[in-house]
């Protein structure tokens, strides 16, 4: 038996792609042959096969894991291949967030949600990477569902942080960080508004780092840039774009707090990465954010930007509170220990 994984695109630095590769590593470690397939493998990822090979490679006794985070015509074809089939749901950003900003993305999301329901009968099991996602699968008509968290692979962070990035932020009292694609659902615009409060009422030198690709949502990115200008925050916000692991690690090390105002996350890997690298987390409680953070971060039930900023300031200052929060974060990361998640995956997949 072999295990095949498919997702339409696989890209470096993308939480979903990292999950695919981490899982492949585990499965190979368990002694099975395992491959990753994609329609489009972005530059920088290696060892990915073209999805066309699936039609030849997959045997009836094999296991096909379809990772789902967007609609794809290919999936309609894949479910015709006789084999065991399991779907892993990473969530689709609801089309509402793109409405009026990116009609193309909105239409695409809508198609994806419809496809998710349509293909439900073809899967013996639907795995949600969070309880939030598992419930979405139930709503989409999946009969057998379970929750298995994302498989994190900390090994690719086993390198020294990028010195240049560290040096750039050294000595600053406030460096706020958010990691995630620049996208309307992640609400980087509200982070910018929050920074306006921060610089007026807490620390006039405060800086905000936004790590994440902005090519997918150029309209939104352009408008956030315009907002920064309008609020006179030019020079206070840095769009780092898609960064390599050394730079990302440096960002986690250099920042004073991780702040999320995201309104939709299927899991929220950066929340755990921040905890792993001893950065306190302040996050608005939406979608899967609450269940990922647990009680190891400041969860904001109300969407109040002033409260967000003050909370970020409190956990950013060196204090016993900060230490306690950092310690809680490190314990929380252990709940998602790759060994445990791996065992659970193995059990669920029957390997």
């Amino acid at each position: 038996m072999r295990v095949h994984q498919f997702h339409p695109t696989l890209a470096p630095g993308d939480a979903m792609s990292n999950h695919v590769f981490a899982l492949r590593k585990k499965i190979r470690h368990w002694g099975y042959e395992s491959f990753a397939y994609a329609v489009e493998a972005k530059p920088g990822v290696a060892d990915v096969r073209s999805y066309r090979r699936l039609f030849r490679d997959v045997k009836p006794e094999d296991l096909l894991i379809v990772h789902f985070s967007m609609g794809s015509e290919v999936v309609d074809q894949l479910i015709k291949i006789p084999s065991r089939r399991v779907l892993v749901y990473h969530n689709i950003t609801p089309p509402e967030f793109f409405s009026g900003i990116n009609p193309h993305a909105a239409a695409f999301a809508r198609l994806g949600l419809r496809q998710l329901s349509r293909i439900a009968p073809a899967f013996e099991l639907g795995i949600g990477v969070s309880e939030f996602n598992r419930r979405a699968l139930v709503e989409a008509g999946y009969e057998e569902t379970t929750r298995v968290p994302i498989l994190l692979d900390w090994e690719h962070f086993a390198l020294p942080p990028n010195d240049a990035v560290l040096a750039r932020w050294k000595g600053l009292r406030t460096v706020l960080l958010f990691v995630g694609r620049i996208s309307p659902n992640k609400r980087q615009d509200d982070l910018v508004r929050m920074l306006a409060y921060y610089r007026r009422c807490i620390d006039p030198e405060a800086q905000l780092i936004l790590v994440g690709a902005y090519r997918d949502q150029p309209q939104f990115h352009a408008r956030v840039v315009a907002l920064i200008e309008r609020l006179g925050l030019g020079g206070a916000v840095w769009f780092a774009g898609s960064v390599d692991d050394a730079s990302l690690l440096a960002c986690y090390r250099a920042a004073t707090a991780f702040v999320s105002l995201s309104e939709h996350e299927g899991f929220g890997v950066p929340l755990l990465e921040a905890m792993r690298f001893r950065l306190p987390v302040v996050a608005y409680d939406a979608a899967a954010v609450g269940e990922t953070v647990g009680d190891a971060g400041v969860l904001l039930r109300e969407r109040d930007l002033a409260e967000t900023a003050e909370a970020a300031a409190m956990v950013g200052e060196p204090s016993a509170l900060r230490e306690a929060l950092v310690a809680a974060g490190e314990r929380r990361v252990k709940d998602f220990d790759p060994e445990k998640v791996g065992e659970r995956t193995r059990q669920v997949l029957g390997l």
């Binding site: 509402e96 967030f97 793109f98 409405s99 009026g100 900003i101 309307p184 659902n185 609400r187 615009d189 508004r193 929050m194 306006a196 409060y197 007026r200 009422c201 309209q219 352009a222 408008r223 956030v224 315009a226 907002l227 309008r230 609020l231 309104e263 009680d295 190891a296 400041v298 969860l299 930007l305 002033a306 409260e307 003050e310 909370a311 409190m314 956990v315 509170l321 306690a324 929060l325 310690a327 809680a328 314990r331």
Partner: protein, 362 residues
Amino acid sequence: MGEPKPVDLDALMAEVRERIRIKREKGIYGPDVEALMRVPLPGGRRIFADDLQDPLASLAEALDEEVEYDPRSRKPVVGPVITYARKVVISLVRWWMGAILERQERINRLLAAAYDYEGQMAPRFGSRLERLEREWKEWREQEVAANLHSVYFQARFGGDEPVIRRQSEAFVDLYKGRKRVLDLGSGRGIFLQLLKDRGIGGYGVDLDPRMVAEAREKGLEAHEVDALTHLRQVEAGSVDGLYARHLAEHILPGQLVEILRACRRALAPGAPLVFITPNPATLTVGAHTFWMDPQHLRPIPPDLFKFYLEVEGYTDVEVRTFEPSEKRLREDGDSNRRENIRLLNDTLFGDRDYAVIGHAPK
């Protein structure tokens, strides 16, 4: 090593709010900062998530929005060809697109009308409605202690079968010669059995499936349906007698009136109708035993019940009390004293149940 203490996030948030309060007081956090945080995203529409904060205003805007598309291509050389091709495609699918748009427009208008967005409908109406319904249902269940284990309750306080039989016997003769007598809340079918024994045709309805099953086992006709629904379903004038023991105190006055009206429709002219209920004119009943059943909603004074029947057009309405209390004060001493004690006995320890009897108008 002990379990590490969780971070007290409530205390943290309290401190956060305190800091904000102080900054407001000192004027550091004033309207100017608030205005900064409300600056909309420049260069186009609001984010939909923000639109959802004020869906009514946004809906009005969205309904009037035109979708624009510029087919011109600005690419060098091939630009005019692309522009031409796009125009051709647009002209080909124009009618199809038009039909889809027309349907969408219709849906938009219908939804807008259904939600009456310019009228009274408030934001988040749906969720508020849901919450109200849930609270209402909970309230109803709490009002009648629906969570009580009814099996235990029945075992301790439930009616004694011989007593019920004896009480019911007193009314069977009213239905002599009738063919289709309806027992509302027929329970185990004690009254139905009495009817059957005397050759009177009858059937019952009850909400409790176990009761219905028990009655059916005895070979009696019983249906699991609520009284009002059933009364509205049966053919007018097809029931020639009606009996409802201990039903009226379980429903609200308005529901009782509705049932009386539905009975009038269902009953054949001249058919008798009997409602039996606890007698609150006896103070030990009205003040004490009536409330021994948490599902009892409110006691009905005999005169009021009689009045209900008269107002709803029933004829020859009478009230008959029965089932005297076991406890009584000894009536002795001189005649004055005896008279007083008798009055006290009647008030405190009078008949525990009463029947109000009427007839459908001829």
